[in-house]
Amino acid sequence: MSIGSFLSDRLGRIVLWLVCLAAAALFLYATGTQPGVLALLLAVLLLLLSATQTADYLRERARLRELESIWESLDEKVLFTECVPPADTLYERCLFDLMRRVGQAMTGAVSDARAAQRDYRETVESWVHEIKAPITAARLVCRQVEGDTRRKLNLELAQIEAHVERALFYARAESPERDCVIRPVSLSEIVSQAVEEHRTLLMQSGIRIGTEGLDRQVYTDKKWAVFILGQLLQNAARYRGEEPVITIAARPLGERTQLTVRDNGIGIPAHELPRVFDRGFTGSNGRARGGSTGLGLYLCKKLSAFLELDLEISSEEGAGTCVTLTFPAKLTKL
């Protein structure tokens, strides 16, 4: 609060005071008070007026500074009204009371929103579980169909599954701590499960997969690691070039373990690279080929952050893309 703003705030009051003083002085002068006495009286009154205003200013400024510093020191800003020292004036007390009521209303709204989000997540999860039964049945029925039709149907089923899986993980990514089990998993287990889940797509894309140094253990949540790797494999298959090859290799990096997924696909234009992890970003490749949701890498990034994996991507247009996942050392969390 600056002096200027304080004065302009009280301008009306001060002007009223001055007008009253002038009127009183005029009246006293007219009724014959000596000018010397009058001047003295006016000077004392003006001094009194400016003294009270200065005192007001200093008190209010100190009070505001105190409140500011409390606000700054709070981690949970919503607790502000609970932490302020008791109000000195009736007016301030009433304001605090109002603020407290606003806070309560807000807390209520936030917890309603959280509950709604939780409900939504649970609905999506149970829907996903429901839909998996008919997909499983369709897969089994598919076995009785011969040849080309079976291959085509299997590919479509794989697409449905991939979309369903993304929806499930999207719902889960909002509160990932709810089902995360960090334990030692072998990389080859993660890789073979991810390949298995996307087998139809990978095989029909004519992809050759090379693996290297996967006989290593990492500490992570297996299901999510498989999901992240699965998204990378899907991208590699979708944006493949001629004679596609995916190389999945692992190597130690100090205490940590680095897993790289390298493909020789069409690559990502340099100017789009910084945005590939953004939600809903599909890029020119995605638009050209269609069927891109802009969710895959976004989810990868989000889940990686939670699992404390470093996720990095590099790419050269026309030459391929390389994604590096760095798993944390054994005891970083839990």
């Binding site: 996903v128 579980h129 429901e130 998996k132 039964a133 008919p134 997909i135 499983t136 049945a137 897969r139 089994l140 029925v141 076995r143 009785q144 291959r151 089923l157 599954e161 499930l168 089902d179 995360c180 089990v181 080859s188 073979s192 390949v195 298995e196 087998r199 139809t200 990978l202 095989m203 004519g206 992809i207 050759r208 997969i209 090379g210 693996t211 949540d221 297996k222 299901k223 004679e243 596609p244």
Partner: protein
Amino acid sequence: MRKIMIIEDDPAIREELELLLRNEGYAPLPVTDFGSVSEQAAREQPDLVLLDIGLPGQDGFALCAALRKAASVPVIFVTSRDSGLDEVRALSLGGDDYITKPYSVPVLLARIKAVLRRGGGAATPPDTLEAAGLRLCLTKGTLSAAGKTVELTRNELQIMACLMEHAGQIVSRADLLDALWDNQIYIDDNTLSVNMTRLRGKLEELGLPDLIRTRRGMGYQL
């Protein structure tokens, strides 16, 4: 024949699984009355139980505990619940394996085979395969005929094993690729051709140049 009990409440999946398992040479025992699973298991003495978790009435976890109390039958959980906690719980209750829906059929069959093998009894996989005068040693990776022996690479070994298991039948390229992918050899069609050529070269060394016939548009035949 190994008996496999199917505890699954979705009728379509249950029927298809029954059909699949019968085709694969198992004796499926589908359960439709979920109230008396333990009694049925005690009566039928299955070699393996495929167990869903979301069942009407008692859930799969409770059923597994009950089954485990009665006998040491191996249990594979087959469920659409894929949370890590469920998996840990299932395995700690004595489940032998945990497969999430929608599973791919080869994976399901491979896991069934693995659990049955672990459960002991017969049907340990043979170390050597014999067909058409050839002898394939799976652990050593060698192929011999008429006193001569050649060494095979991992890829060639799996291709040869697949052909010999189906000796006389036509094996399509897609089936061969499937078999290779089952064994974590992820190759493409071209690489398969290259391996096929090398394998034929090695057969020629054994003095059997035209043993693998190409059936145009259909596949290969030993």
